[in-house]
Symmetry: D3
Subunit: 296 residues, 6 copies
Amino acid sequence: MSAALSLNRLSLSAEQLAFQGIVQAALLEDLGQGDVTTDPLPQLVLLQKQALFRVRQNCVVSGLSVAALVCQMVDPALVFTPMLQDGDFTEAGTVIAQVEGAMASILKAERTALNFLQHLSGVATETRRYVQAVSGTETKITHTRKTTPGLRLLEQQAVIHGGGVPHRFNLGSCVMLKDNHLQALGDTNPNQAIAVAVKTLRAKISHTTKIEVEADTLAQVQQAIEAGADIILLDNMSPETIREALSFIQNRAIAEASGGISLETIRAYAETGVDIISTSKITLGVPAIDVGLDLD
Amino acid sequence: MSAALSLNRLSLSAEQLAFQGIVQAALLEDLGQGDVTTDPLPQLVLLQKQALFRVRQNCVVSGLSVAALVCQMVDPALVFTPMLQDGDFTEAGTVIAQVEGAMASILKAERTALNFLQHLSGVATETRRYVQAVSGTETKITHTRKTTPGLRLLEQQAVIHGGGVPHRFNLGSCVMLKDNHLQALGDTNPNQAIAVAVKTLRAKISHTTKIEVEADTLAQVQQAIEAGADIILLDNMSPETIREALSFIQNRAIAEASGGISLETIRAYAETGVDIISTSKITLGVPAIDVGLDLD
Amino acid sequence: MSAALSLNRLSLSAEQLAFQGIVQAALLEDLGQGDVTTDPLPQLVLLQKQALFRVRQNCVVSGLSVAALVCQMVDPALVFTPMLQDGDFTEAGTVIAQVEGAMASILKAERTALNFLQHLSGVATETRRYVQAVSGTETKITHTRKTTPGLRLLEQQAVIHGGGVPHRFNLGSCVMLKDNHLQALGDTNPNQAIAVAVKTLRAKISHTTKIEVEADTLAQVQQAIEAGADIILLDNMSPETIREALSFIQNRAIAEASGGISLETIRAYAETGVDIISTSKITLGVPAIDVGLDLD
Amino acid sequence: MSAALSLNRLSLSAEQLAFQGIVQAALLEDLGQGDVTTDPLPQLVLLQKQALFRVRQNCVVSGLSVAALVCQMVDPALVFTPMLQDGDFTEAGTVIAQVEGAMASILKAERTALNFLQHLSGVATETRRYVQAVSGTETKITHTRKTTPGLRLLEQQAVIHGGGVPHRFNLGSCVMLKDNHLQALGDTNPNQAIAVAVKTLRAKISHTTKIEVEADTLAQVQQAIEAGADIILLDNMSPETIREALSFIQNRAIAEASGGISLETIRAYAETGVDIISTSKITLGVPAIDVGLDLD
Amino acid sequence: MSAALSLNRLSLSAEQLAFQGIVQAALLEDLGQGDVTTDPLPQLVLLQKQALFRVRQNCVVSGLSVAALVCQMVDPALVFTPMLQDGDFTEAGTVIAQVEGAMASILKAERTALNFLQHLSGVATETRRYVQAVSGTETKITHTRKTTPGLRLLEQQAVIHGGGVPHRFNLGSCVMLKDNHLQALGDTNPNQAIAVAVKTLRAKISHTTKIEVEADTLAQVQQAIEAGADIILLDNMSPETIREALSFIQNRAIAEASGGISLETIRAYAETGVDIISTSKITLGVPAIDVGLDLD
Amino acid sequence: MSAALSLNRLSLSAEQLAFQGIVQAALLEDLGQGDVTTDPLPQLVLLQKQALFRVRQNCVVSGLSVAALVCQMVDPALVFTPMLQDGDFTEAGTVIAQVEGAMASILKAERTALNFLQHLSGVATETRRYVQAVSGTETKITHTRKTTPGLRLLEQQAVIHGGGVPHRFNLGSCVMLKDNHLQALGDTNPNQAIAVAVKTLRAKISHTTKIEVEADTLAQVQQAIEAGADIILLDNMSPETIREALSFIQNRAIAEASGGISLETIRAYAETGVDIISTSKITLGVPAIDVGLDLD
């Protein structure tokens, strides 16, 4: 405990600044008022150990910089060394990082670090499945706002690690006119709802902000294009309908397909030539990757 | 915006006090610096609407009190009325709650409320599957510490809503001597490691705290019982080995089975008569329940 | 102090959720450990008063919803009633809001509420000057990231209240390639720096995110257009050079002028037909509006 | 839990704004992740009860507004009604407040509310003993900065409730030149240390800030007076020495006695005519007042 | 102030993570908006000094790791070196730690560090008195939930430093059925209240959580044992009654005595053979230990 | 990102502890969920650069310690080296600090650091103008409470850097009886309002707290002096009236002039011999200083 001896430090990068809040919350959640198993056994503080984070499934790794922050917050004297980088694909059995320091500190950091790694690597790995399913096409894969509360930033990064691209981060990042907005706005003349809404918004929003319009029908696609939407969300359409929509859109807007698209059907969607497919299936209810911590 | 007119309020129960931090984090995450779709359309503030939270799958509902808090934080004038209670099983198509108020506020609260409901109802529903798989036995189902960072309290409650029981909340709730602890302590005489550790801990911990010991072998079960452990974690054992362990334990400790138990095999484990089965499968990578918000 | 009698409330809208942090910081800053003038004079708590927020200069009002939150945080029993709306232009002497309640509470809220109103109305009013200077043209006025630390959201809203439009909120809202980025990237072939950077970024960023490129020369304008930039920042150019740039751009990108543009010269810039002019002069060092609180 | 039914509210006065941080910390400390006794017994939520806060010793009451905030934070539907006011002296057996509402909420608020009341009433009551010991003299009683971490504001208010007056709140409230400062400054000419320090400080500090100088000897008293100190701290002097000091000071500064003054000796100090006596004995290690909560 | 020169650090252990909130609150409380005595005297920043924390009474030391954190938060360049460990008994005059660095920083950290050390060493030392009073018996000493708001974790550790053992940390750590719960539950059949409550709770709580039942009479002791309580709180009983209770309990539950037990009577209670005695007298209104900081 | 390699640190002085909240708020405001320009260009992380903070106008520098903290928070590996000190006057073109490290980190810290430097140097420089305008007189210049919300501490320090002196920090620092207080108190006998209020306050406030009374007329000056005010605020008086007031006050109180004093008229006020002049013009709507960051 001697501050004179433990010249350690809390190292934060700008990236870590953005997620230190959730990491601290997760640690306080797990550490509570102290570890009743480890704290009464002072020999665990004196014992210096090395432990290995090892994946037990093939996966895309995500969460190493989070795990590094977990270890530093628990004990700045812990030395966390990643063996590969977030976004790397690796095979079952690979050591992805090692941590060295007081056994007591390793035991306190273990579960929280693993919980982040398991979930985020799960998101990255699931994303990769979808990305591979469309390989050879020009179509990109992205997420939705159906994310785990508190973890959106990390899940978005995991999607990137898996080969996907980011969608709008939140309600402030991009206009998205959905059926609920249009229904609320368009009472008197539904056909004009999109045109009126886009015009009103364009006059008020930043010139750096795009407008995306959700279209459930080809008629709405046409209305959105004519209104000057930057992006058309082709919602719950079949590949055939999407082809029709695309032949109308003709690069006048970015075309995004979404709704009811599974790993089985996604290639058919990509082969329509749609620019991007968004799916909640890469963030919601995604299988976790089994990661363990082995004492050396 | 007139404060003279909007005599609303932020209603917090003691239960909500514990999770208001994660709710606020989730809202700030999604609202960002404002909703660029809704904010420039002031008619959405004036428009009073009613919307219905409807489940699209059979499920156990969990997260209603969280969704209520989300709505209140977004706009204290929103009136959120649950139609059933957390823990109720219901069928696809059921309206589980309604919210009434300014359309703009409903749109801002929608995604965050749904994200909580989808995930937590998923945990509750998955728990129910495991609970039903052991129905008729005395065995209880519980979670592990493999939970989503930041959501442990809510996931633990969802497990309860699904018919499970809580495990230790965190490292401060119960002693759990695992292989890593014993390995670190038992260098000179592994056979004595459990006895020494339990004795040391019993002298120092609260008389309100139990000691659980992880046993990988029957020999360790015997050592744990002799050391006076309150709970024995029978780790990664077959039902047959567990039966042997139980015949030795003979109610001198609570017997908990864990490790490699699936929905398919869990009944065989429960029929051994083990007191409780803990599994990460009810919190980790659990399928989300589809919940939507329909404008009335 | 009787909780049984003071059935008051803390009313927060989604809008106020975003700025309650800075309001609370400002209040704690001014209230310290109590008001040593008011607290020892209990008759000021008993005395019910009405006070009027009155502007002493012609101005565009901004900050009413902030002042409302200040009053509610100081004392939920204070009734704050705005007389007009944020964004309204009004003349010297106008009462813009009234507050009614315990004299002690009014005195505690006064300075903080006024400090917000004075500064934000200053920003809105200065913005209006620039907006009026370009009236009759199609050019819009927007802010930069040169804002007061902690107040960007409120200053951006004040710009809108003054007739301006928002620019990107922060580093996450829009790509902005500036000379420093290009210099760092373009060592081997400066002519290619823009093309390479835009291509790299376009492959990785969200399809909802625009790319703005800063151009100091017409050559760079051409490179930016060819690279497919969404917005070109015409930096520190004369109106003549901007005309040349615009004739080249031909609506293939949004043209933004910035740098060295004053209230005197802005009309000449607007008359070039540039889409938008950004200036730090509407947020930085802006004259405050004199607002006072008069006891009725 | 129906938000539609529980139209409750969180009532915060400006006074409570200053101590809501410590109240929330205390509640989270005691509630943890839920009350494992009360939460599984839903009949306690339905049961409406009234409970009485009753003091079991003669005392000066302090902490009623804190207890009110505790109750409101636990459950805004709890109705807390004080029967007397902070600062009132009352006898053993008196009901000082009542609380009415859900039994479960009362049980959750009970301990935290009592912990504040017991300690703060202890401080107020101890202060009253010192104040009474000097009754009839002009001398006032005040505290020092030896307070309980996190509770200084509440303890200062309790001192006032007991009849004392506040001292400087913290290092920012008033200059206090102590031996350590002078020793550090006065190496070359100790006799000049006070004069030099006061002159330097007076030129730099606010004209609203006073300068207090600690004097251990009559020589230092003289130096402090000549230097123009506003307050002289007569440290660890006998009543006789203080009389000498006072005859020299002659109202040119406020005289404060401190150090080694007990309840037994304080009257002798007050009878010297010293303006104020500060003592840590009214905040540090003060006996708590026994307060209980009785179900009606 | 040169960041290039001051390569200092903020060192936090997992232990310190749990109490950094209260330490920061205490520092902000004392430092306010700056130290008006020290800040205007820049020579105090340049002056390097060593100062010694010295106890002026025999005591058990507690709070050294807190004082270390205080010093690091004030100035990471301060080097704090403990001379002994929390939990050590030492005599008046002992230097328990030294701190070295800028005189200005030492002066700013002084009072806050001392306030923690004085109170926590007081708790540890008072605990030791009670522990010594029962020496030679098997009875352990523990605290209650009557602790100082915000300081429970540190006070619990101080109790351990004094030779005591921890009780449940908060309402989430252990079930405690008290008279108020039973009264609320047992209207129809008081004799059955304990049995019903224990059975209900056992079915719902974690298998890692114990159930403690408060018994005021021997009849209740019997009911609690028959209901299967893990711990019986023998409340406000005489040693004789406790003996009777123990002869009935016969190790079927842990027996805890509490209520009305003083330093004078505690040995008589311990000699009954009761397992543990809990008392608020070791945390509430405990005399502080005199600790000072001497410049070397 | 290797924690094993980046042995960096977060260096906080006591001074920085007080403003780290606003710095973190400003950084989170500008960094959002990541820098969409810099993050996708990993070569900017690898590129080590040196950049120079250069002022483009003659100015008094203020904000260097804030800029240092900004850089450290963004990336503890950034080395920030000030070239001069807060409070130094320097000429256009001077490099006031340099920062060295990863180009990506420099780009992320740039705008926030500059925003603080521009505004605070503006305050310091404007203060210097007022200070120089009264040079040769004994009159000091100070600020008011009309400051930018969230920035009062930094603006107060900037005033000191410009040669001014601090006024009361907030409502807790000094009593200030203004017309609103007196009006509220003095209904029955206005002539007695000041006397009664001062007497009441003096009995209750700390002996370390001064009392300032606002006087609009010479009659009020007389009342304030007779009441024993420590400071008289001569509000909105002409220099002639102030001379009359001073001849009456005769050093019995500190005389502060305020209200309607401009850079043009301030010397005439100072030549009256008034002790101090307070003005909002040095904090409110002050021109920013142009500061840039140049890549080396």
